[in-house]
């Protein structure tokens, strides 16, 4: 293999004319982080709601929850991305569709919504499992005290369920982070997309993707560290 290694490429100006290749990657990184965080907010809140629906006594509520999960978990993420980006604006009432298509950064908003809804289905399953692993008597104890169903979830079931599912939730968070790269297919200039254009412009394929890999690994490492710190902080004294 005859390859010209050049690690200083990062400090050379990119053909875009707004900075170095390093700046280009950093801008990709900030889109990646913004997309991951915003979609996680949706995923976490919507996922918790759907997960709770699946544990309510009401059959109707359970059915709504199950339908959501099966729908969003079983369609490939890439297909969902295309559906949100190309199909949804077409089927919306005329003016809304046009507004959506002309929205600046529309690929960012689309990616946030798409990932949020997709990851919500996975968060929902974790939340449901977490609630179901709690002793049945916990719900009864809350109810017997006079707490409403909502209060029983808010003050008794969910605080315990989240503690149980923190490790799997962390890996869902990381999956969501990695899945942001799928958004390059709808034109979001996130980290992977930026690494690819760097490789195209400079032909330094190894440097470009090594950088992307190291950055993804770095974020994962930070997330895992924060999560385990959080786990110790919220651990209940005297448990296990």
């Amino acid at each position: 293999m005859n390859y010209n290694w050049n690690w200083r490429i990062f400090f050379e100006p990119s053909p875009e004319g707004t900075g170095t290749y390093a700046d280009m990657l950093l801008s990709g990184l900030s889109w990646t982080i913004a997309t991951a965080l915003c979609s996680w907010i949706i995923a976490f809140s919507l996922g918790s709601l759907i997960g709770v629906l699946r544990t309510l006594p009401s059959r109707g509520a359970q059915r709504v929850g199950t339908t959501y999960v099966e729908l969003f978990r079983n369609i490939p993420l890439l297909v969902q991305m295309f559906l949100w980006f190309y199909v949804v604006p077409e089927i919306l009432p005329g003016s809304w569709g046009t507004w959506l298509k002309q929205l600046p950064n529309s690929s960012f908003y689309t990616a946030v919504i798409c990932l949020g809804f997709f990851t919500a289905s996975r968060v929902a399953e974790q939340v449901r499992t977490g609630i179901e692993t709690l002793p049945r008597g916990q719900r009864m104890a809350g109810t017997a005290l006079g707490l409403t169903t909502w209060q029983t979830y808010r003050y008794v079931l969910l605080p315990n369920a989240y503690r149980v599912i923190l490790p799997p939730l962390t890996s869902e968070f990381l999956n969501n982070l990695k899945n942001t790269s799928v958004a390059l297919t709808i034109g979001l200039l996130e980290l992977t997309a930026r690494a690819r254009s760097m490789q195209e412009f400079s032909s330094q394929v190894f440097e470009s993707f090594t950088a992307a890999t190291v950055i993804y690994l770095g974020i994962s490492l930070i997330v895992v560290t924060v999560s385990s710190k959080l786990e110790t902080r919220i651990a209940v004294p005297g448990s296990r």
């Binding site: 009864m140 104890a141 017997a144 005290l145 707490l147 409403t148 004294p237 448990s239």
Partner: protein
């Protein structure tokens, strides 16, 4: 403050009127009728699977029924307009496995219902909680967590938690049967004191010593039916049904 109704003392605190319950096709309660009047202690006993837990849980509607009616302090438990959380707040319940909230400290366990259901101010709830902990002999443990206490201590906290709501009646479902033998006494002592103070109590238990000491009546269940509903002395001295006799001879044998 309304004037005391002269009939109030005669009215039952809990009236269970001919109730039946099914789990799917399986009938677990069959035409049960009994009452608990104010200040009375009623012990419910019977073989495993006879429906004791189910019966006691129907009183605060933790278990729905398909037939019959229950009233608590005159309020229909199954009646359409009944505010169940409000009704449940006035009925204390103690479970076999304590069911303290593991993520809350002991004092927070005692404050949750007071603050969120009764709307008491934090300071007030805290003070009342500490007083109740003193009453069950656990003042020193207010900042510990349930997982740091023994079973007997947890059950005493659970009783204090139920009392924090100032209930008009207390339900107990085998409160000592998950405890190591050496801890049974400390929990029974709290319950006996409560009974002596005049609390209305419905207690599922096999602790016949407790029944002899403080019960007014004993309800004996078998296969979903109330087979015997007698005063304490009648139940122990001359049980009418054969099933109650067999049960008593078995349980008093050890």
């Amino acid at each position: 403050m309304s004037a005391i109704d002269p009939q109030a003392s005669a009215k039952p605190m809990i009236a269970i009127d001919n109730i039946s319950k099914w789990y799917g096709p399986v009938q677990v309660l069959n035409g049960c009728t009994t009452q608990v009047t104010k200040g009375e202690v009623v012990v419910v006993c019977g073989p495993s699977g006879s429906g004791k837990s189910t019966l006691i849980k129907t009183v605060n509607a933790l278990e729905p029924i398909q037939k019959g009616a229950i009233t608590v302090d005159g309020i229909g438990v199954q009646a359409k307009g009944t505010n169940l959380p409000k009704l449940r707040a006035r009925v204390g319940m103690v479970f076999q496995h304590f069911e303290l909230f593991p993520h809350l400290s002991i004092i927070d366990n005692l404050m949750l219902g007071q603050c969120k259901v009764l709307g008491r101010a934090k300071d007030d709830a805290h003070d009342r909680g500490l007083k109740l902990l003193g009453r069950v002999g656990l003042s020193a443990h207010s900042h510990k967590y349930p997982g740091q206490l023994s079973g007997g201590q947890q059950q005493r906290v659970a009783i204090a938690r139920a009392l924090s709501m100032n209930p008009i009646v207390m339900l107990f479902d085998e409160p000592t049967s998950a405890l190591d033998p050496e801890m049974v006494g400390e929990v029974l002592d709290v319950m006996i004191e409560l009974a002596r103070e005049g609390m209305t109590m419905m207690v599922v238990t096999h602790e016949m010593g407790f029944a002899r000491k403080v019960a007014n009546r004993v309800v004996f269940m078998d296969r979903g039916e109330i087979v015997e509903d007698a005063t304490k002395d009648d139940f122990f001295d001359k049980p009418r049904s054969e099933r109650a006799q067999t049960f008593l001879s078995k349980i008093l044998a050890h």
